[in-house]
């Protein structure tokens, strides 16, 4: 089998119960103290999230309003981050742009997790499907994900929704494989076998025993997917196959400003900085969660 060792990383995982339900004062603080990366990542991400939500109230103007007469102005008191080639206010665009990056990141993480879990569980439980589905997944995985996404974008046209679909399609097989691995190992567990023997219905087994145990690796995986989706969105827009150019996304702002990076570096700098910080925040959060939720996994990567 082509799976060999790769899935072996996660296949053997048996997880401790998720955090005990007991709550004590100071417990949360202790948790954060123990996992500084979660604290830092969460804090940064929370900040970006606030910016995204409250963008209209943070002294922004219409991010799409053109003013060609005031183009490529450097950062000043009037234009905090300067203006772009069409005279649009980069500060407003970057702030509103955070919405797109977060939407793309979160949606891709959600879509690929849900679909990936569904496929993975089915493949893990239904032998007949397994071979076929996993060959299809292997096939999809052998197409480098950015190529796959570019090809899809060329096919279905630019929109935020399509970006989400295109990136998700490249991520789904990875989740599906991970889940299938976990399911296969769980199936052999005595308590699952007992449940089957006692006549519990398959959906119930999945719901009761399988899904809860796949949650931890999925959450960790989802954070990393979220981070890489944000980068992928920027890359797609950079190549010219991403979010429609009317929508201010970080990728678009950078794509439009790339030709001027020597003369007006601020156009690329601000969205690049925001993007990097956001991705960093999500990555830190992911690292932290992995350490916290799954110490055995943590040792691996």
């Amino acid at each position: 089998m082509s799976l060999s060792l790769k899935s072996g990383f996660t296949a053997a995982v048996t997880l401790p119960d998720v955090l005990p339900p007991r709550r004590e004062r100071g417990r949360a603080m202790l948790f954060l103290y123990r996992h500084p990366t979660i604290a830092m990542g969460g804090l940064l991400l929370g900040l970006i999230l606030c910016i995204a939500i409250f963008a209209p109230f943070l002294f922004t103007v219409d991010p799409t309003a053109l003013a060609p007469a005031k183009r490529t102005r450097p950062p000043s008191q009037l234009y905090w981050f300067g203006t772009d080639m069409l005279g649009r206010d980069i500060y407003s665009r970057v702030l509103y742009g955070s919405r797109i990056s977060l939407i793309v990141g979160f949606s891709v993480a959600a879509v690929s997790s849900v679909v990936g879990v569904a496929i993975g569980v089915c493949a893990g439980f239904i032998r007949l499907l397994d071979a076929v589905v996993m060959r299809v997944m292997d096939g999809l995985m052998s197409i480098p994900s950015i190529l796959l996404a570019i090809a899809f974008m060329a096919l279905i046209g630019a929109s935020v929704q399509n970006v989400v679909i295109a990136i998700s399609i490249a991520e789904i097989p990875r989740v599906a494989r991970l889940v299938r691995g976990v399911v296969l190992s769980l199936r052999e567990q005595p308590y699952v076998e007992a449940a089957i023997a006692s006549g519990t219905s398959i959906p119930k087994i999945i719901w009761r025993h399988i899904l809860p145990n796949t949650m931890a690796p999925i959450i960790v995986q989802a954070t990393f997917i979220c981070a890489s989706a944000m980068l992928a969105e920027a890359t797609l827009s950079f190549i010219g196959a991403g979010t429609p150019p009317t929508i201010p996304s970080w990728g678009n702002i950078m794509a439009e400003g790339r030709a001027l990076w020597q003369v007006k570096p601020f156009i690329v700098f601000f969205p690049a900085a925001f993007l990097s910080v956001t991705v960093l925040a999500v990555n830190l959060l992911g690292d932290g969660l992995r350490d916290a939720l799954d110490p055995r996994l943590a040792k691996r990567i």
Binding site: P144, I146, I150, L155, L231, T235, A241, L280
Partner: protein, 318 residues
């Protein structure tokens, strides 16, 4: 052993079949009609129809698919719609820059990331460990093109006036014109492309080394007085090799994806740029050819990785 290799090799066939079907049908349903693009601004619908027939675009799906597969198996990837050149020739022209870029990236990444990961594991918790991990996390977080532009600005245009504008800012020098110019031309793009790869490898190296270093045989080696360096690089690293190689193989996809962007930032006439150009122009045969080829290479690399396991870890027998 032999049957494992055979089975592993055979298992790539269905994967490639899925890729082929997928790549073909993806572009089969693509909007945009190459016939009318070729016909140009002033052509009549009849002319467009004639061109469509000449290209065979009017035949049913399965007929087109199987005739395409047959041609591919015979080494014919079709003819580019825009240049009228055989796709195999166009890929052939572009292969050297991309292979060079990847090889240099691979070499640089391995030679920096593995020692970094080993040292970070050895000095766990020290400043060098923290520094390595911060750098590698940052490597995951900055887009390739931003890294590329910053490198070009600093080391080619000498934008900060540091007197270090040593490298060409773009292009590719064929290796026949000298190894040194070839290497100089590719160094900046390789570093830009390799950053995320380095991050990946450094992390996995550190993690596996940490695990290996806590094993009994390492303790035994220490106890019998083996040198620190020999423990790290002889005993431990060899045992950590399997996960590292796995990540190198899987990360290869990132490398291919990154090459698409890197080649356009540094104007390297390689396969990545060919792909982007072809997709923007809807040059179906090229898109099919390139995606198919990249996927094939990726499958081969991972096949190689799986076979390498048996070298490093004789226990693996399936």
């Amino acid at each position: 052993m032999f049957s494992y290799i055979l089975r592993r090799v055979l298992s790539t066939i269905p994967v490639m079949a899925v890729v082929a079907l997928f790549v073909f049908s993806l572009l089969y349903i693509a909007p945009g009609d190459p016939a009318s693009i070729i016909a140009g601004d002033q052509a009549s619908p009849a002319d467009v129809e004639r061109i469509r027939m000449a290209l065979g675009l009017d035949r049913p799906f399965l007929v087109r698919f199987f005739s395409w597969v047959w041609d591919v198996l015979n080494g014919d990837l079709g003819t580019s719609i825009f240049t009228n050149l055989p796709v195999t020739k166009m890929i052939g022209q572009r292969i050297q820059p991309t292979v060079s870029l990847m090889v240099i990236t691979l070499v640089i990444s391995l030679f920096t990331a593995i020692p970094l990961g080993v040292v970070a594991a050895w000095k766990q918790g020290s400043w060098i460990d923290r520094f390595a991990m911060i750098i590698s996390t940052a490597g995951f977080s900055v887009p390739v093109f931003v890294v590329g532009y910053v490198l070009a600005y600093t080391f080619a245009l000498d934008g900060f006036d540091l007197g270090i504008g040593w490298f060409p800012v773009q292009g590719y020098t064929p290796i026949e014109q000298g190894v040194w110019p070839w290497f100089l031309n590719l160094l900046l793009p390789s570093v830009a492309l390799g950053l995320i790869y380095m991050a990946l490898i450094a992390r996995i190296t550190r993690a596996t080394m940490l695990e290996v270093l806590s094993q009994d045989y390492v303790r035994t080696a220490r106890a019998k007085g083996a040198g620190q360096r020999s423990i790290l690089f002889l005993h431990a690293l060899k045992n950590a090799a399997v996960p590292i190689i796995t990540v190198v193989g899987i990360g290869f996809a990132t490398l291919i994806g990154g090459a698409v962007v890197t080649e356009s930032v540094f104007a390297i006439p390689g396969l990545g740029r060919l792909t982007v150009d072809a997709i923007l122009r809807r040059d179906y045969p090229i898109i099919q050819g390139v995606v198919l080829m990249f996927s094939f290479v990726y499958v081969l690399v991972n096949l190689g990785v799986d076979l390498l396991y048996t070298l490093f870890d004789p226990r693996i027998r399936y």
